[in-house]
């Protein structure tokens, strides 16, 4: 039992950090499909940073810097240049996946896996069998709680939501939607950096090309499934991690008799169902992206 919980926490924690990044962007009215790219930038920068500085703290700072820069680029393109957030977000994802592959190739001259000498500190034997988990796992519940407080109980969070829901109304009470989006994306960049760091240096200690393998998109699905509520989205991400862990378990136990690939599709199916249901309950979902704007260039 402990083993399963450990594997769920291991795979769930990076997902939850990135999901929170998606939540804050979503509340500011930005559909962040760049999460996948930000996460892999965070993972790559952490491993390269550890090798360069021999310090995990400095490496995570480098990762945060890289992810915040990439987030600001996304903000610039969608806010200043009025690009379509969905296409631009997918572009950022491609830039992250391709850029990290290129960086590894240009630094090491090969596309092989890059291994760091050590990773994020572990909890240690005081926590029994859970001691193998990294400190980022233990910090996760507190970060979720902090996000909930910030988004639901502070002036900043409520203004952020107002900017996302109705920018015009928010502007009329003195909020600046553009600056709020910048803040949301920058905070999201920090969270993605931590998520990527935990993925690459939490229980593992290496970076491989394309190692996020769709986790950023899964985080986006969790944001939608959890209705952009920090706690709801966290549980959605946890649910996805549970399905993933059970799928691997089922494969180990039953072999090929269980089509575990189809089981892995369950989170995506659940997201579709969740979005459909929330639309039903609210009486028609809001339009995703003002796509008509794109047509009338």
């Amino acid at each position: 039992m402990n083993e399963i919980i450990i594997s769920i926490l291991r795979s769930g924690t990076p997902l939850i950090y990135v999901t929170l990044a998606g939540v804050i962007a979503q509340r500011a009215g930005v559909w962040n499909l760049g999460l996948e790219g930000l996460m892999i930038i965070g993972a790559c920068a952490t491993i390269l940073g550890i090798m360069l500085t021999k310090s995990v703290g400095a490496a995570i700072l480098i990762a945060i810097l890289a992810c915040v820069l990439a987030s600001v680029l996304l903000w610039f393109v969608i806010d200043r240049l009025k690009a379509n957030p969905i296409i631009a977000g997918l572009g950022l994802t491609g830039l992250g996946i391709g850029g990290t592959a290129l960086a590894v190739q240009s630094i090491f001259g090969s596309q092989a896996t890059v291994t760091a000498p050590f990773g994020i500190p572990k909890l240690g034997p005081a926590f029994g069998s859970y001691g193998v988990l990294s400190v980022a796992v233990a910090a996760m519940p507190f970060v979720v709680f902090a996000m909930w407080v910030v988004l639901r109980r502070t002036r900043f969070g409520l203004r952020l939501a107002a900017c996302g829901e109705h920018p015009f109304a928010a502007r009329s009470v003195g909020a600046n939607p553009s600056r709020m989006r910048l803040a949301a994306l920058a905070i999201g960049g920090v969270l993605c950096a931590i998520g990527g760091a935990e993925l690459a240096a939490g229980s593992l200690q290496f970076f491989a090309q394309g190692m996020t393998a769709g986790r950023g998109f899964m985080a986006f699905a969790a944001v939608i499934f959890g209705a952009a509520h920090p706690v709801g989205a966290t549980f959605a991400a946890l649910f996805f991690a549970i399905v993933g862990a059970l799928g691997i378990r089922a494969q180990l136990t039953f072999g090929d008799r269980i089509p575990h690939d189809l089981l892995q599709a369950l989170p995506y199916l659940a997201t579709v169902f969740g979005v459909w249901l929330s639309g039903k309950l609210r009486g028609g979902a809001k339009a995703a992206s003002s796509f008509a704007e794109l047509r009338d260039q």
């Binding site: 559909w31 499909l33 680029l73 393109v77 240049l81 009025k82 690009a83 379509n84 969905i86 296409i87 631009a88 997918l90 572009g91 950022l92 994802t93 491609g94 830039l95 996946i97 391709g98 850029g99 592959a101 290129l102 960086a103 190739q105 240009s106 596309q111 090309q209 769709g214 998109f217 986006f220 699905a221 939608i224 090929d256 089509p259 690939d261 189809l262 892995q264 599709a265 995506y268 199916l269 997201t271 579709v272 979005v275 459909w276 639309g279 039903k280 028609g284 979902a285 809001k286 339009a287 995703a288 992206s289 796509f291 008509a292 794109l294 047509r295 009338d296 260039q297």
Partner: protein, 345 residues
């Protein structure tokens, strides 16, 4: 006409900007940017046989991109081309098992139809959800992509598995050579003919039918079109089905042509590239053909970059991504510059 020319020029400006950005990235990464870009150009269009290779990639991309353009025109942000492409290929592969042994002149059209049907089905449910319940099509089609990807993993390692296959990538049993529509190089009269027919039909659909005009209007202002008596959900659903069918057709062509089988995770960037092509072309059918050749060239250059410039093929992904980042941008600066000689609005 002049206006549409301007939108093409401004698309080109953004493509060039994206290329410059990429050149900077390559330079920073320690590669010689001019040499790299030259290698891309050489690999795409100049090298002997490069044009054929570029067309091999361009034709399926064109077919998918035209479909993407149809649903974008109607105002539906169907980003599920990748999933529809996969499901189309999967359906054709299953159909191939079912009608094995039949005469080629019957089997080939059957497989093509099966692929189109599969792609259309994979676009049907997001379309229905969108038009009946208002469920956002960006989410449903994106989730559909992942589900289709997993479905592909399942069928290639399960029902359609090639028992003799080894290695890391699971793949289906190969298609009987009698039913292949091209060799592994992937350019054949059949494929060219299919692409030309699709191009002509879609051009007529968009520019010469009530459907095309109404769909374009619905994309701009759905409520108004509905007030004027058009059935929005019928229009919308048709555009979903057409785009799905075309992506499915492209998947089938890849299966029956160059690949000859389906493999888990094959051509993972096809749908995204097709969306880019549709956007660069500003959704026009003719523009899509031109843009498809450009992006087809990039796709074929990706195979030569590691050899010619020592650069990983990820460089092409970076170029595509940079174009994606900027292609929908509406820079007031560029608009102002272009308005100098253009029509006053």
């Amino acid at each position: 006409m002049k206006d549409s020319l301007f939108t093409v020029v401004r698309s080109l400006i953004f493509v060039v900007l994206a290329l410059i950005l990429c050149a900077l990235v390559f330079q920073l990464a320690g590669y010689n940017a001019p040499v790299t870009l030259w290698a891309v150009l050489d690999g795409a269009f100049l090298r002997s046989g490069a044009i054929e290779q570029s067309l091999r990639w361009a034709l399926p991309l064109f077919i998918t991109a035209v479909g993407v353009g149809i649903s974008f025109r109607a105002g539906f942000f169907n980003i599920g081309a990748q999933g529809q492409f996969y499901v189309g290929a999967i359906s054709a592969a299953f159909a191939a098992e079912a009608v094995k042994g039949g005469p080629a002149f019957l089997v080939i059209p059957t497989l093509l139809l099966a692929g189109m049907l599969g792609g259309a089905l994979w676009a049907l449910w997001p379309g229905l959800l969108r038009l009946r319940s208002g469920t956002d099509e960006v989410i449903t089609t994106l989730m559909g992509n992942f589900m289709a990807g997993l479905l592909l993993v399942y069928v290639t390692s399960g029902p359609l598995k090639d028992p003799s296959g080894s290695g890391q990538q699971a793949s289906s049993r190969p298609l009987d050579p009698a039913y292949r529509i091209s060799d592994s190089l992937g350019l054949s009269p059949t494929i060219i003919m299919i692409a030309v027919v699709v191009g002509i039909l879609m051009w007529l659909l968009v520019n010469r039918t009530a459907f095309g005009v109404l769909a374009s209007l619905a994309g701009r202002n759905g409520t108004m079109v509905e007030w004027q008596g058009a059935r929005l959900w019928k229009l919308g659903l048709s555009s979903f089905l057409v785009s799905g069918a075309l992506a499915g057709l492209a998947g089938t062509i890849e299966f029956m042509g160059p690949n000859g089988r389906i493999a888990s995770g094959f051509l993972p960037a096809h749908g995204f590239t097709a969306i880019l092509i549709a956007l660069v072309a500003n959704l026009s059918v003719l523009g899509t053909a031109v843009a498809a050749v450009f992006f087809g060239g990039l796709a074929s250059a990706a195979l030569y970059l590691p050899i010619m410039a020592g650069l990983p093929s990820a460089a092409i992904d970076i170029i595509n991504a940079a174009i994606a980042l900027f292609i929908t941008a509406k820079s007031t600066f560029i608009d102002r510059v272009m308005r100098l000689g253009g029509p006053k609005t």
